[in-house]
Subunit: 360 residues, 2 copies
């Protein structure tokens, strides 16, 4: 794996990492402690992010300005001392590149004025390379982030998983039940597969270009995985995750399927290196189902970081103890925007004090 990995474009162009803990755990190599980063670490928890954000009227302009996105990407490495950066972007840039514009409504979330309803809507979508090349601003942000990071930590690229992107494209927003998107799977399965394939083709082209621009690891976010019954997850989600993982053999990949406790055996068989876990899944439950070959990432309850420092440290240590080795410390969900910065720092510092040799 290490040899294959070194053949990736970024590595070939002199990508020497001073801290490669994340990649070593992904590859199954021994480390003294787990690496630590937080989903949504680039964002509102940081005062320097809020200052940067205030220069932009709207979220989308911010995301599309590579210099700003790169600065937001690197901020948590400077402020929190985390072991990885993740590119500042949004999973919804993919449906947008496919031809479905969205609005980001402050404190409410995304909204698509037009949604996918019928075959003609799917036929009209751009996909694959043609869609991916519209995301040049993400690739530029990755390149700039790499420059600023100068090898301090690995840079994570990401995309939404096809089922989750379909859900947004059909619902037009988040949803309490996702009944419109899920209805499509029952009522028009062929159309659903057609749409999932277009999203998959686009996602593959998008992620390949992220790797070319310097991403050291890729994460797929299947945020609405837990909405599907097990049989549907196996039919409408897993095969597309499989395609994406197979198309990107030269870089480690993390699949985070929130709520998909019932699919851990299937996820364990994907050609990926890391499985992300939400805060409901006991580490031993996941390890028993995914087998020994994957790294596990997660899964502290994000609300833990509202507690006092001792509770945060105790709960973090208990999580580290339960996971044992081959673990990437993280929360079980994105950090909530109103989380106290001090709580985040206690979490990061507690992980960085861990030492497998001393604990065992």
């Amino acid at each position: 794996m290490s040899k294959v990995f070194s053949a990736q474009p970024a590595a070939a162009s002199g990508d020497i990492l001073h801290n490669d803990l994340l990649l070593r755990v992904a590859r199954g190599e021994p480390t003294d402690r787990p690496p630590v980063w937080l989903m949504r670490q680039a964002g509102r928890i940081l005062p320097q992010y809020r200052a940067l954000r205030s220069n932009f009227q709207d979220f989308k302009t911010f995301v599309k300005t590579p210099e700003a996105a790169a600065e937001a990407t690197v901020q948590p490495v400077d402020e929190l001392g985390v072991d990885a950066a993740i590119i500042f972007s949004d999973i919804l840039v993919v449906p947008e590149a496919m031809g479905l514009n969205y609005e980001m409504i402050e404190a409410k979330g995304p909204r698509f004025p037009e949604v996918i309803e019928k075959k003609a809507d799917v036929d009209a979508l751009i996909s694959g390379e043609n869609a991916a090349e519209r995301l040049y601003y993400v690739f530029e942000a990755l390149r700039l982030s790499k420059q600023i990071l100068a090898g301090r930590v690995p840079l994570i690229g990401f995309a939404g998983a096809p089922w989750t992107i379909l859900a947004y494209m059909v619902e037009g927003s988040g949803s309490k039940t996702f009944s419109r998107a899920r209805r499509l799977l029952y009522a028009e399965p062929a159309l659903a597969h057609n749409l999932l394939q277009k999203i998959t083709d686009t996602t593959i082209a998008y992620l390949q270009r992220q790797v070319a621009a310097g991403a050291n690891l890729l994460q797929l976010f299947d945020s609405w995985a837990g909405e599907l019954p097990p049989a549907h997850y196996r039919t409408f989600a897993v095969p597309y995750l499989q395609q994406i993982c197979e198309a990107l053999p030269d870089v480690p990949k993390t699949v985070f399927a929130k709520g998909a406790w019932f699919a851990l055996e299937d996820l364990g068989e994907l050609p990926c290196e890391v499985i992300g876990l939400d805060w409901n899944i006991p580490p031993a439950f996941a390890r028993a189902r995914t087998g020994e070959s994957k790294a596990l990432q997660g899964n502290l309850d994000p609300c833990t970081l509202y507690a006092d420092e001792k509770t945060i440290a105790d709960e973090t240590n208990e999580m580290l103890r339960q996971f044992g080795r081959r673990h990437i410390a993280n929360l079980g969900h994105g950090v909530y925007p109103d989380t106290p910065l001090e709580g985040v720092k206690v979490f990061v510092e507690t992980v960085k004090k861990w030492n497998y040799g001393k604990q065992v």
Copy 2:
């Protein structure tokens, strides 16, 4: 169990049921087929409900008019031929009775203008008998429903589980993350327990009065169970469910903890008769964890009812096959308001054609 059950007030006052399938399965007695009903069967899927609802400007006036609530309760028995009625009401009448008014905003859901933030807010709440007696309109609706049903099928009473009611009282509405409510559990656990106990005391008094008014079975809805990490569910949810179940020994009880797949062993030890399952939980997974002593209720994906008739029948039969005996057929969540009535009818009729003797 049968003997104890016959001692309940409604039974003592001549409550002879022509169809007691639901209660027989709850008690563990043999039946030829599973009983069937749907969560949220009294509601927008029925044209006669929409006609009745149009007489009221707002939802809350409707809920508080016993004659109308009783009519809505009985409509699905007439129209769908289900094996149980469930009282038409809302879980949020309990926080309202405790002193926290809510508004029901059409197509958006509930909103509490004032929420619980600090000790003084909890101290100011009414609880127990004093709160429960404010819900006289529910008890009157139960009595009227029993009269109209005239023993055709059992009548189900219900309440929200304490954690779910706390979540609404602290959040003020539904939430994507429930981070305010969950923050309270980390930041002020003593206050959370204090609030949960007040909700529990009220719920017990409320459900005892529902039984006195004729409820034949009680269901506890823990709609936000899946938001809690396993350790918190065990600390902040299960003990209060235990108290409620213990306080109502003379009537069968169903606990439906949506998303709490990780707590099935704990739920299996509650002194209740039925465990409700959402559509993510494979029947065999639940049976292995709850043991043999409970009836299981559920768990067809509500979105199945958007499919064609053959798919609905096939999926329903497959579900019945997987559950086997000691099963109450239902969806894995409330029926969605836009579900085609024909789909609902195919589901009900498919269950009613099932025959354990012939299938095995």
